[in-house]
């Protein structure tokens, strides 16, 4: 067997650190941030039965982080009785989005066709966003299950973005940017987002300029949202392990730098 390199020890350390803290179950106290509150307030303030587009703009890979966010937002919207229209801009989000909606709708006794509908996937996201701005029906002549658009009760009154209260983009990448630039910029629809933590800084200027109306970010955002709707889920469970992982990375950075300065001093001497 080949000797283990330093890289491998770092990997082992991470495994152990996260694995151990996951087996411990200590709840963490987390304050609610403004942006999460804004998303909650917006969904809360809409009159019951407002149509919202939920766009599943993520792939399967980021599901661990995306799922808790999506679940909390869906639960909240269903609980308030809003009418949800699901779409997916990545092929992989298609089934995931459908499953998530199906699962949460069942919790609140919501019925397909009356309370929610799932339109499915269109490739070429910019194209999809633009054409939905003109006509949802033309973009999706049939829903994901193969029903004709006009046969779905709740969709009969929906022409384009003018008829919905907003678009909530659940994204693991920069697709929300396209929603902001093409959906929001061009067709003036209100854009809200739930994104992975990694994407937060990308969207900060859009939040600051008001082009993005609310941003629920990462596992932490999910945990906050879970607290707001008073329902524990994956976000909360991961918080302790997350904190441990952060401390681990901080320690690594510090060790790396100490080693660097030592070797530099030696080099000089």
């Amino acid at each position: 067997m080949k000797r283990l390199e330093p890289r491998h020890w770092i990997f082992v350390g991470l495994f152990v650190a996260i694995g151990c803290t996951m087996l411990l179950k200590i709840p963490l106290e987390i304050p609610i941030t403004d942006q999460t509150q804004k998303m909650y307030d917006y969904i809360e303030s809409l009159p019951e039965g407002s149509p919202l587009i939920i766009s599943f703009d993520h792939e399967a890979s980021s599901l661990p982080e995306i799922k808790p966010i999506a679940l909390s937002i869906l639960r909240h919207a269903f609980r308030k009785g809003h009418k949800l229209i699901g779409v997916a801009l990545y092929a992989e989000g298609t089934l995931i989005g459908y499953r998530l909606m199906q699962e949460t709708a069942a919790e609140y006794d919501r019925e397909y066709g009356r309370d929610y509908a799932y339109l499915g996937f269109r490739p070429q996201y910019i194209a999809a966003i633009l054409s939905m701005g003109e006509s949802l029906e033309q973009t999706f002549p049939q829903d994901y299950l193969g029903n004709d658009f006009q046969d779905i009760e709740m969709l009969r009154t929906i022409g384009n973005y003018d008829d919905v209260a907003g678009v909530i983009s659940i994204a693991d990448g920069s697709l929300t940017t396209h929603w902001i630039e093409y959906g929001g910029g061009r067709y003036d629809v209100r854009i809200l987002a739930g994104v992975t933590a990694a994407m937060v800084t990308t969207y900060d200027p859009y939040v600051a300029s008001g082009q993005l109306n609310a941003l629920v970010a990462g596992l932490r955002g999910a945990a906050e949202y879970e607290k707001l709707i008073d329902r524990e889920g994956g976000g909360n469970r991961g918080m302790l392990a997350q904190s441990t992982a952060h401390l681990y990375v901080i320690v690594l950075i510090i060790i790396g730098n100490v080693a660097y300065f030592r070797s530099r001093r030696k080099g000089r001497g």
């Binding site: 890979s61 092929a91 033309q138 022409g159 693991d172 990694a198 800084t201």
Partner: protein, 272 residues
């Protein structure tokens, strides 16, 4: 049934007054770009400042040739052919392919988008023809790998860890796959040149790559490498636009501050 939009919005004029400011800004920008491109005098005088990545491109090609190992170029998973970054990245590809053709160095180009693949094949083939080595062109090396993010990442990762390219070019639109590629490239000791407009990934490229073209630098460098003066001229246009933006910004801030202090609304034209 055919196109219900036609029925729903009748009697709307051709011009949408809400978009007036965008139109004016667009026209100003277009005029400036056209001026810098076609006004010979200013065009020929113009020079671009040093961008570190550019000289590194030559070194990277030279290194691969010396080591007799391939060069890997990939435009990332995030873009399609319509994305300006992809188009800028094609200029790099064209330049690099011409060099690899004359040095007889293998160029591998995996991509996630079939349209990018067809265009890249065309670009590389013509570069080989231009270099006078059409026989060295291998279409198989410019290949489509999975369109899904981590299918793509795994495929490119596999290419890197098995073909062991001496130099890796990561130029285009990247998402989370960036660090997997850059770290794997790093672990086999390749020289890596990255450039992207995906701001999130820049922090990883900066940590893991030897040279990184940040955002707009990618466009400028692509103009520079293309060797086409008209393309380069639009870099100049961008700079002129930047000066205009900064001046407008400062004036607007001063006016806004005066408004705030005096409590009166003098002007509010920047609130679009």
């Amino acid at each position: 049934m055919l196109f219900p939009v036609l029925a729903t919005t009748a009697n709307v004029g051709w011009f949408d007054p809400d978009k007036l400011w965008t139109l004016i800004a667009a026209l100003v920008a277009i005029v400036i770009v056209l001026y810098t491109t076609y006004h010979r005098k200013s065009r020929d005088k113009f020079k671009v400042r040093q961008i570190a990545g550019i000289s590194a491109v030559e070194d990277a090609i030279g290194r691969a040739t010396e080591m007799a190992r391939p060069i890997l170029f990939t435009p990332g998973w995030g873009g399609d052919i319509q994305r300006p970054t992809t188009i800028a990245s094609m200029n790099f590809l064209s330049h690099i392919a011409e060099k690899t053709a004359s040095y007889d160095c293998t160029l591998i180009y995996p991509t996630h988008d079939p349209v990018i693949m067809t265009v890249a094949q065309e670009v590389v083939r013509e570069s080989y023809v231009r270099a006078g080595h059409a026989d060295r062109y291998r279409e198989d090396n410019i290949s489509y790998v999975s369109s899904t993010q981590f299918g793509y990442a795994a495929a490119v990762d596999g290419l890197i860890s098995r073909q062991k390219p001496a130099s890796i070019f990561l130029l285009g639109t990247f998402e989370a796959e960036s660090l997997i590629l850059a770290e794997t490239g790093n672990s086999i000791g390749a020289i890596q040149i990255a450039g992207t407009d995906s701001t999130i990934q820049l922090s990883f490229f900066i940590v893991a790559c030897d040279f990184t073209l940040i955002g707009e630098e990618l466009f400028a460098a692509s103009g520079y490498l293309s060797g086409n003066r008209s393309i380069l001229a639009s870099v100049r246009a961008q700079d002129i636009l930047k000066v205009i933006i900064i001046v407008l910004l400062m004036v607007a801030v001063v006016v806004a501050s005066i408004n705030e202090i005096s409590g009166e609304q003098l002007l509010g034209w920047w609130g679009f």
